[in-house]
């Protein structure tokens, strides 16, 4: 396993998987930056709740971008084994379980880096808001940021497990990419129906489910206000169990596959 990871890294030369995640980060960064710079000085509603504003924003952005990015990344990591039927050769040299795990670990590393950078982006953007609106600094809600990091990692990893399994079985890679795009659209929609049970049905919807901030719209003043909601620990445990199940099924399918 520790032997395979460096080999895997050499194999994915010129696949530019990191670029996908970087692109998503940049798009999110500039999108938020643009939104912030458009805030009028009288946008007082955001003051004192800069973090909440961004946490909700990024949950939305993750739900839009990550399903696609993860699908594309998993596909680019896996299709190299199928295009030139390299898997056939690989399976005569390495344990199948190691092959499966190496790809998962690699995906996890990308996702960790992504989640870390995104979480680090939050305080940075908060500074920008405060500078832009000349607002006093706000205390950093470390627990909320930690939960944001944790949930982004977890939901993404579960998505990655599913996408990797699909990708390892599809020669054309159209199916996994289709699943990614479809998941992204559904994940987006599920956000707009916060109280519908629908968002619990798809793993993509859980970027929302684990968001610790909710929004309240005040029609009279046309302002919005944010309020914290408790992290759904039981749901998180259930989701993790689902992730483990997805892993076990994916692994079993790959192990039994005839090549």
């Amino acid at each position: 396993m520790s032997r395979l990871l460096p080999i895997e890294l050499r194999k994915i030369r010129r696949r530019y998987v990191w670029l996908l995640f970087l692109a998503a980060l940049l798009v999110i960064f500039f999108w938020d930056l643009w939104a912030i710079l458009r805030m009028k000085p009288e946008s007082k509603w955001v003051l004192g709740q800069e973090y909440e504003y961004l946490l909700l924003d990024m949950a939305l952005q993750n739900a839009i971008f990550l399903p696609i990015v993860i699908a594309a990344a998993a596909s680019r990591l896996c299709d190299i084994e199928l295009k030139g039927s390299a898997l056939k050769m690989l399976c005569t040299l390495e344990k199948r379980i190691d092959i499966y795990h190496t790809k998962l670990v690699l995906g996890a590393l990308y996702l960790l880096a992504y989640s870390l950078l995104q979480t680090a982006m939050l305080p940075l953007l908060v500074r920008v808001i405060q500078a832009h609106l000349q607002a006093p600094p706000q205390k950093m809600p470390s627990a909320q940021l930690a939960l944001f990091f944790l949930s982004t990692c977890t939901v993404s990893m579960v998505l990655f497990i599913i996408q990797q399994t699909i990708s390892l079985f599809s020669v054309t890679q159209i199916v996994p990419l289709f699943v990614g795009v479809g998941g992204s659209l559904l994940g987006l929609f599920s956000g707009f129906f916060p109280n519908a049970p629908f968002r619990y049905l798809l793993p993509q919807g859980y970027y929302w489910v684990f968001c610790t901030v909710n929004i309240y719209y005040i029609p009279e003043t046309r302002d919005v206000t944010y309020y914290p909601i408790p992290f759904p620990t039981a749901v998180f445990a259930g989701f993790c169990a689902f992730g483990v199940l997805a892993y076990i099924i994916g692994r079993r399918l790959f192990m039994g596959r005839e090549i």
Partner: protein, 327 residues
């Protein structure tokens, strides 16, 4: 002394589940036997030709040897180590791979990473096989791919991919080489080169080679042993020498009265066959041929043509096994 076998199988069987409709035409209900109780014996240091028409089960057999697909039943012993017994793996996957690492393979289509250059592909393989990268130049020279080594493998022609695949299989000087139709996609010069290379491997590199093909003529000049598989059954397995003993020539005859000619020849104890107006019988000594022809002429049969013909492979297998096979 008993020869050592590098590959030995007993009862090797693979069944695939098939849809109901298709199953009705097959013998077993619900399954089709793609490889049927095959007992392979590949002697050490030999080049073993594995012959069979399309769909005979060659690739399936070789994949089972490599553990890429699970046999339904049977035993597999490779390099003296039993890997599978009654269709079940006898050892931990890690130990099985230790054996398989001493095996180079090229199954069905060559394996390569399309986005990497030929050289980078071999570098990956070196690391996987724990072989020093200094071997790369040597195998590249063997398959004559030095000049294309820095081109992306995905942009190679089929023949070049095949060569790259062979180079990869040769890395680490494995004791056993499994090549499934390695000449696929090669030009005539390439086929000749491949043959020459394969033929020298046992001597120069102490390898045993199993090479599949659907044409005997293609591997005739490089193999010592032949196994013939047809519809999943191994119908012949022996040295090429023995096969050639059976491939005697025969004499063909055209006459103006075949019925009469058959009678005359049979009266003289000749096992004659008639097929599309042509009589054929095993080659005989010249004096006897003269005697037979004059006998025919004496009986009023007009001999139109007489010529010599190499017995076809199909006929040889028919003789040997009583089974019809089209190669």
């Amino acid at each position: 002394m008993e020869r050592n076998y590098v590959i030995q199988t007993r009862n090797l069987t693979k069944e695939y589940a098939v849809k109901k409709k298709a199953a009705e035409t097959e013998a077993g209900a619900g399954t089709s036997r793609v490889v049927n109780r095959v007992d392979l014996a590949v002697p050490e240091g030999a080049v073993y030709g594995f012959l069979g028409p399309n769909g005979a089960g060659k690739s399936t057999t070789m994949k089972m040897l490599l553990g890429l697909i699970k046999p339904t039943d049977g035993d597999i012993t490779i390099l003296g180590t039993p890997l599978t017994s009654s269709g079940r793996s006898t050892m931990h996957e890690r130990d099985r791979l230790d054996i398989l690492r001493q095996t180079g393979s090229l199954i069905e289509s060559p394996s390569y990473y399309a986005h990497l250059t030929g050289r980078e592909n071999l570098q990956i393989l070196c690391r996987l096989k724990n072989v020093p990268e200094s071997e790369i130049d040597e195998v590249l020279a063997l398959v004559r791919m030095e000049r294309q080594q820095n081109k992306k493998a995905g942009k190679y022609s089929l023949g070049m991919k095949q060569r790259l695949g062979l180079a990869g299989a040769l890395l680490g000087s494995p004791k056993l080489l499994l090549l499934d139709e390695p000449t696929n996609g090669l030009d005539p010069a390439g086929i000749q080169e491949m043959r020459d290379l394969i033929r020298t491997l046992p001597q120069n590199r102490h390898m045993t080679v199993m090479v599949s093909s659907h044409l005997l003529s293609e591997i005739d000049q490089m193999v010592d042993y032949v196994g013939v598989i047809n519809k999943g059954q191994l119908i012949y397995q022996d040295s090429l020498l023995r096969l050639h003993e059976h491939s005697r020539k025969e004499l063909c005859l055209r006459t103006d009265n075949n019925n009469r000619a058959v009678c005359v020849l049979q009266e003289n104890g000749v096992p004659v066959q008639i097929e599309q107006d042509i009589l054929s019988f095993p080659e005989t000594k010249d004096e006897r041929t003269v005697f037979l022809i004059s006998a025919l002429v004496r009986e009023g049969v007009g001999v139109l043509r007489l010529w010599e013909r190499q017995k076809s492979l199909e006929d040889i297998f028919l003789d040997l096994t009583g089974k019809q096979v089209s190669l």
